[in-house]
Amino acid sequence: MSDHAIKNPHIEAHAVAHEEHPGPGVYLLVAAILTVLTAAEITVFYVPGLQPVLVPILLVLAAVKFAFVAGFYMHLYYDSKVFTIFFGFPLLLALLIVLGLLLLFAHLQGVLSFTIP
């Protein structure tokens, strides 16, 4: 915008460093891992013996997939940590909202009962 930019060499070096994204090799490796994880999810879904632990396994697998896409494809692992904060805080808040509503409605439906001793 301005022709009178106050140059900051530290910032420029910093900015260039953020441009260093991984190459196709890493992307292909991540794709392979995501494929395996998705296959594992589907497998877990169809194996009757795993039904009792279906929820924790699926949640962990989904979280790992989420982290791989966000970390490598969206470059959070490589980019400025500012982006991680920008995304991480709302994500945490979103999780708390989901958890809060689930607990409140579970109580409303009598699924979860709270008593004060």
Partner: protein, 825 residues
Amino acid sequence: MAAQPKTLEYEYPNYLQDPRGIWSWLTTIDHKRIAILYGVSALFFMMVGGLEAMLIRAQLMVPNNHLIGAAIYNELFTMHGTTMIFLVVMPLELGFFANFMIPLHIGARDVAFPRLNALSYWVFIAGAIFLHLGLVRSLAGMPDAGWFGYANLTERMYSPGINIDTWVLGLLILGVSTLLSGLNFFVTIVNMRAPGMTFMRMPMFMWAMLVTTILILLAFPALTVGLVFLFADRFLDTHFYRVSAGATPILWQHLFWIFGHPEVYIMALPAFGIISEVITPFSRKPLFGYPMMAYSLVLIAFLSYGVWGHHMFATGMGPIADSTFAITTMLIAIPTGIKIFSWIATVWGGRLRFTTAMLFTLGFIVEFTAGGLSGVMHASPPVDLQQTDSYIVVAHFHYVLFGGMMMGILAGFYYWWPKITGRMLNETIGKWQFWITLWAFNGTFFPMHFLGVLGMPRRIYTYAPNMGWDFWNYFESINAFILGFAFLLFFINLVWSTLHGEHSSADPWDGRTLEWSIPSPPPAFNFVTIPMVTARDAFWVRKYGSVGAHGVAPAISGGAAAAPVGAPAEVHEHIHMPAPSIYPLIFGLGLFMAALGCMIWIRLILIGGALILMSILGMVFEYPTFGQFNPEALAESTLGLDNRKLGMWAFLGSECVFFASLISTYMVYKDRNLGGFDAMILNIPLTSFSTFILLTSSLLMVLALAAVQRDDRKWGAIWLFGTAFFGMIFLGGQAYEFTDFVLQGLKIQTNLFGQTFYTLVGFHGIHVLIGVCWLLVLAFTTAAGKIGKDRSLAVEIGGLYWHFVDIVWVVIFTLIYLMRTVKHA
């Protein structure tokens, strides 16, 4: 008034002088002019909302009054609340003060996204007009279900007219405007601060606005989701809030107040910031406890997300939930108390100047504290149960909103008007206004505490005589009219002073922050040279030349030595400001027409949609540096990061809350389904295939980015086309799935499962569709050779959006599809 500092008289016209003509205002993207547009609009709506308030008080003045009748009374209190919150307080604080002051406070030439800023304004106007469509009486009158719009009063069954439709659509449009403003200001404050302006050197108003924008980004999506459900109930015959269908209107209350309580702080924090700025020059002291003031803002914001339930104690959430919300609500009093004590400590021992701005600031502290104390009282569930829906609540929130926010806004007007217009507001009229306001405000709202204790409920249009309410209602109404007179003085002062008022110097108050270092009114480009900040209270330090402990300027009384900002006039020739644009206005018009089409003529939706599309493409391609790597701008930025990328991440953060609200609804309604179709209908093999397709598309997207970054345009285009193609396959799978379900008999109206499933997965599908369109634009542009290494950012930002759509699907696939058999989700 302090001795006038020597000011630099620029040789260039100020932002009001050049360019001239109505067209220049319609197409302006200058943050200062947009602020003026917001200010004028909000002041107009202040008159509308004020008249509504006085009609309400006229109706309640005596018992058994039938001056306006019950129906119009309902419309008046609904529109008074909606108008004052969405069309007066927020536009004045965000659109007017923040818009004008953020770049000036941080030493920038404009906001991060000037066109988006203009677009926010025109969308705001579209929403504001839409809310008032009911003034055309043939459209069934104004909204009449309260500003909170509680379900199921707002359902078509109980509110069959289109007045609630205008409320739903109007608020959705206003939400878009607010979100865009929030995103814009957030990026501006984070990444466009002048060199040396660290977070701990920012003016407190900037801290307040930074936290406010975070609240906006993370609170409004919940309201959007609640309104979308209400829209679906009214237009698509779904049952999101209908008990007979297994749903519950309590869901609306949760979604509304998840937004609604942070909204209180969206209105309060800017006022906190304004008075923090006003109080220092008129106390001749630096702000007391700056770090704690800043941390308190952050703590208030964080806690504000955990207190929404205190609006719902009467719904029977249970003792644990009640206790939790009571504790978090009471905790908020701690950071708020820190702020109040810090303001008092700032005043304490200062050389006070009782200007009108200072009087309103002191008024703020007293009245807001009174409102806050009654708020702590409501935080106790057993006490609240006695007070809910009584006039004591009306007293409380008016002490907070008027005694707090409006006093802060008025202080801001008297403080910054000289900078904005170049003219001083008349102090004599101002002081009359203040004392009349102080008397009449307390006369109007303090007796409401008594009426509440005496059992007078809210929202009743009249009452029987001899209930013990007659005198205080009469007293309140008389004072309300006096309050109206005080505002009449204010408007007279604004108009008269702007035309005939005393000319203002650059620094009439001996100010401490950077806006006082430039002429009044400022030139279009704000600063000739971007200032270098060496301490908190940057301008004060430059004037008096010293930095005290912890970088705080010492308190020195007396006049300013000199205004140091200056530069040769020829510098102006090299400052390039973004060109004006008509597309933001066209976008607002398109959105208005599309919303109108939902209500009266469906073809208008297509026309409106076409205008929106045209304006988006226009804005993208008229911008000469679309997606271009700009090392100079990057070097100027505070964090060394690109504004556009920061903006996209902030947007994605906001989207997290949007999808969280949708997912929560699906999960809490999963077990409330009254039979018929349920999650067992979901086709796992098909969706597994779709999931692989979407994940693969993400791979192609990063390959496209890698290709473009190495300037391989051919493969960049190929991978982008491939990504779009895979996205289309995913959409095809979703279309097949939806069609199959509909053919089996599962429609969106069928049951709770149908409506929550179609809404959640459908919204994801809409995101994919937008992504595919975006990818195709990128692909064709790359194929045409327009996007290479220098514009790889365009692909990177598009890619961020696409990957976000992907990770949302990762969550949906797990929670909705693979956990279809899980009960009590």
